[in-house]
């Protein structure tokens, strides 16, 4: 599903942040991405989400060489990817319900066709009573759960999560991990970038460790 070959990334004329990355992410797989701060985890997630282009090497996503893709094709591919960013990126003028339903709205689906799915998921992540709240009045943990719900609502084929349990207590962290595992079992490939060793120890999965721009894969 995802194939990287000798991929390098640098910002402007700066040093290479990522060097010679070569790996594959098969469909239905689950992996943790870890490494020290500044190792390039977020940059790698952005490469996977197509918001950065590699400086060198080949990135193949869902059978497409990303260097050959136009903006419209990238937008179409992104519909198959869910992403949870550290800063949540919720829209402040929309309620929690509307934020989570946004991918369906962009797909052009009617509100009545997705209402049940969105409400079910919001209740499942513990935001059933915060559906009509605006993000500025949500706590950090609530925002994180809303961002996760938005990323998984459309059952993406690939889910990328950057520190998804960083702002929640261990109980809710375990619960969110269960959500990712359930999603993975239903066919979504999952990549979770995290520093949380305890979280990684809860589930047997492949580990990608980034160190000084290079990637080490532990099966």
């Amino acid at each position: 599903m995802v194939r990287f070959e000798n991929v390098g990334l640098r910002y402007g004329l700066g040093p290479e942040i990522l060097r010679d990355l070569s790996f594959q992410i098969p469909a239905h797989s689950f992996q943790f991405l870890t490494g020290p701060s500044g190792a390039g985890k977020t940059s790698l997630l952005r490469l996977l989400f197509l918001s950065h282009r590699p400086t060198r090497g080949l990135v193949n996503l869902f059978g497409h060489d990303v260097s050959q893709l136009g903006k419209d094709e990238i937008a179409d591919l992104r519909k198959r990817i869910g992403i949870v960013l550290q800063d949540f990126r919720l829209l402040d003028h929309m309620t929690t319900y509307e934020n989570v339903a946004l991918p369906f709205r962009v797909m052009g689906r009617s509100e009545s066709s997705y209402r049940k799915e969105v409400i079910d998921l919001l209740r499942w992540v513990g935001l059933g009573d915060r559906m009509d709240a605006l993000p500025p009045i949500l706590s950090g943990g609530e925002k994180q759960r809303a961002a996760i719900a938005r990323a998984v609502i459309s059952r993406p084929q690939l889910l990328l999560a950057d520190e998804p349990t960083g702002s929640v207590d261990p109980t809710l962290g375990r619960r969110l991990l269960r959500l990712f595992i359930e999603l993975n079992k239903s066919g979504t490939a999952v990549i979770i970038a995290t520093h949380d060793i305890a979280l990684m120890d809860q589930y047997e999965a492949r580990r990608f460790v980034l160190h000084q721009g290079r990637l080490h894969v532990y099966e």
Partner: protein, 322 residues
């Protein structure tokens, strides 16, 4: 079959679910309606539309008044009979009057008597002056039937035949000067209008750029959830079109109200020296219904120009945001 059906719903980890609310939700717009940049854009468009409407309205007023003067003046000819030694001016005036009456296309002839001619000179010479001591020419005003092309050469020949000292003036030189002045005013108005529209486009482009910068997080999130540029641009375009029309309606509406109000003011002052001067210069200072239609169309047009200018800026900005 939906993807949910294919994969099954997410497993609930053990919570009783209350029944779903049945009512549909009113969704917020993708682009928030009220924002500082939005209000600034409405204000810019409103001011520009107001200026454009005032320019257009003034041009329409001047051209309508000028057309009125021209038609008034063009439907009249003035014959001047000068006193000449050895000739009886009263007889010459009567002969010329008869000669003009006989001309086809003339509907009314009014010769000025000696007393009336004296009255015309009163503002310059004062009262109590004997006209017998002065060689005052006699005026004859003839009204031409509208739409008739008068044979001025034949009329001139006939008039000078009966009174060699008489001259015929069809005000052509004055009309030409008036036409040039009106054309210059209209051209200046169009020039100002063009400048206002260019200024509108530039201001709107900057306002759009500012609004897009303020809405950059929205654009980024929309990109994250898989929205293409076209989808995003359409939503922003709708937003800017609405703001443009809002500004257009406010600016155009205020200008129309002002023209309507000035008409009332002109009515209040009619009969006073100031009002009469104004009426002589600009008629009743009132826009015709077609003038109001022009202003309304212009307001909508400026709203549309706002949307088009925003669209150009939008796509340029979207290329930078990812």
């Amino acid at each position: 079959m939906s993807r949910t059906d294919q994969r099954g719903v997410l497993v609930d980890l053990g919570q009783e679910r209350p029944p779903l609310p049945a009512k549909a939700r009113n969704l917020s717009p993708i682009v928030p309606r009220a924002s500082i940049h939005g209000r600034a854009l409405v204000a810019v468009v409103a001011i520009m539309t107001f200026l454009a409407s005032m320019t257009t309205g003034a041009v329409l007023l001047v051209s309508a008044s000028a057309a009125e003067w021209q038609s008034d003046v063009a439907s009249e000819i003035t014959i001047q009979v000068r006193p000449q030694s050895g000739r009886d001016i009263e007889r010459d005036t009567a002969a010329v009057t008869e000669a003009i009456r006989a001309q086809a296309g003339i509907v009314e002839v009014k010769p000025f008597t000696k007393e009336e001619s004296g009255k015309l000179l009163e503002p310059w010479l004062g009262t109590g002056l004997s006209m017998d001591d002065l060689p005052v020419p006699r005026m004859i005003i003839a009204r031409v039937q509208p739409g008739t092309s008068l044979d001025l050469g034949a009329l001139r020949a006939r008039v000078t035949q009966v009174a060699p000292s008489a001259s015929v003036d069809d005000h052509r030189a004055w009309i030409e000067r008036m036409r040039s002045m009106t054309n210059a005013t209209v051209l200046a108005g169009i020039g100002i209008l063009a400048l206002v529209i260019v200024a509108t486009i530039i201001s709107v482009s900057f306002a759009t750029r500012g609004a897009m910068a303020a809405n950059r997080p929205i654009v980024e999130v929309l990109h994250f959830v898989g929205a293409g540029d076209r989808y995003i641009a359409n939503h922003f375009l709708r937003h800017f079109l609405r703001l443009g029309l809002e500004g257009g309606v406010i600016g155009g509406g205020v200008a129309m109200l002002l023209f309507g109000f000035s008409e009332s003011i002109a009515g209040w002052f009619s009969g006073t020296p100031v009002g009469d001067q104004f009426a002589a210069l600009l008629g009743t200072f009132s826009l015709r219904p077609s003038g109001y239609v022009v202003l309304a169309v212009q307001a909508v047009l400026i709203g549309a120009i706002t949307a088009v200018a925003s669209r150009q800026t939008l796509f340029a900005t979207l290329n930078d945001v990812d």
